[in-house]
Symmetry: C2
Subunit: 215 residues, 2 copies
DNA sequence: TTTTTCTAATCAATCGTTTGATTAACTTTG
DNA sequence: CAAAGTTAATCAAACGATTGATTAGAAAAA
């Protein structure tokens, strides 16, 4: 019974995550979510208190494991900066594409200009992932492994922005890249390896010290 | 009178653009928009037919001039590929940041997974800008000015994704970059030149043929 | 006057949420 | 064991509030 209850709650969150990604937080009604999940509308409030409670529950389910993986890479003393950077990129691409619905949902809500409790909460969470990346860059520069003429902040924007572009604006990215980026098979066989290879190469070109990139 | 009417319609669109960016299409009610614009609610329907009509009117007001500028750069025979690329980046950064509310609004709606008439329309418009960029890259590769081992599609994702990250997720990008990216003064004095310099340098590092970037 | 612009009042529809009743399963009691 | 009591889970129905849209008519402009 306890197990069944958890499964059911998880099922509701799975469906809600997808519907929120499809229609946005405001566009997704509790009736659509409950209908698509095959449960009574009142169950959303019974389990999660409110519509916002559903949204936050989706959050807390995804965050914990996601953070720890990236933090572990940043703290790994056995790797040099280049290895950390490549490992970060690979882990990040895998996790984001595997949970693309969640990241679409997350980025839609953070892109609201108006500051709310929700945007604050999302910002804090995302900043932790950003901080790990920036720490890797800073260490690489300090140790001389990376070029010291680097715009760390905008390089961060490039890494996360490229990712966002691929998963968040998939109507466009699918046409740019030539296949449906929301298709699971394409994601695993084509998109993931291609995006990893590309990002590592792009970062290498920009960060490697032997090049003289000054304009 | 015709002039006054146009001014009023323009004022409504200015306000609506801002509110849509703040709250999203679904989150922005006609009452809030009309209230903030200081006009009667019924005026939205009187002038634009419907809420969606307001949204589309914002669109058509921004698009025409935006397209022509970029198309002109791509077609300029007097420039080589590097010059075209740099000019494209500069024009693009200027236009996007000057109209940041519009681009926030635009990207929020395109990020809905579900395909609608609206997402189709937005996709077609954006693809035109993308096509100009990709044409510049393709020409540069063909002429030997750029490296021929280039992932054009993902480089496109990087250019537009970096831009999106800065203007669309401004709660995050402001913290990453250290100042408020939505402040007009910061945008003109700090963000625009920095983003232009960075993107040109990044593209140069990735595209220049003399480097041996293969892994 | 005729036409255009604007408003207050109102519409049906939909929103998120709450309610009271019912079901099913487990515990306690006799 | 069986009856009574207790609990969480589920449901259909309804709640008040808000949504986008429409109306009839006043006000202003021509």
């Amino acid at each position: 019974m306890e197990k069944e209850k958890t499964d059911k709650k998880d099922h509701i969150l799975d469906v809600a995550e997808k519907v929120f990604a499809e229609l946005g937080y405001d566009g997704a009604s509790t009736r659509v979510i409950s209908g698509e999940a095959g449960v009574n509308m009142a169950m959303l409030n019974y389990y999660f208190g409110s519509k916002e409670g559903v949204f936050l529950a989706i959050f807390e389910r995804r965050i914990a494991s996601f953070q720890s993986t990236l933090l572990g890479i940043g703290a790994d003393e056995s790797k040099d900066s280049w290895e950390k950077l490549n490992k970060y990129v690979e882990s990040y691409v895998d996790r984001v594409i595997n949970n693309n619905c969640f990241h679409v949902m997350l980025n839609r809500e953070i892109s609201k200009s108006k500051k709310t409790d929700l945007t604050d909460k999302i910002t804090d969470i995302i900043m932790k992932n950003v901080a790990v990346f920036q720490q890797i860059i800073a260490e690489g520069i300090a140790s001389g492994q990376f070029n010291n003429d680097v715009d760390e902040a905008l390089l961060t924007a490039t890494l996360f922005g490229t990712k966002n572009y691929m998963v968040n604006t998939h109507h466009i990215s699918s046409r740019v890249i030539g296949y449906d980026v929301m298709d699971r098979k394409n994601q695993d066989e084509l998109l993931k390896p291609r995006l990893k290879t590309y990002l590592k190469k792009l970062l290498k070109a920009y960060l490697q010290p032997e090049n003289d990139n000054n304009n």
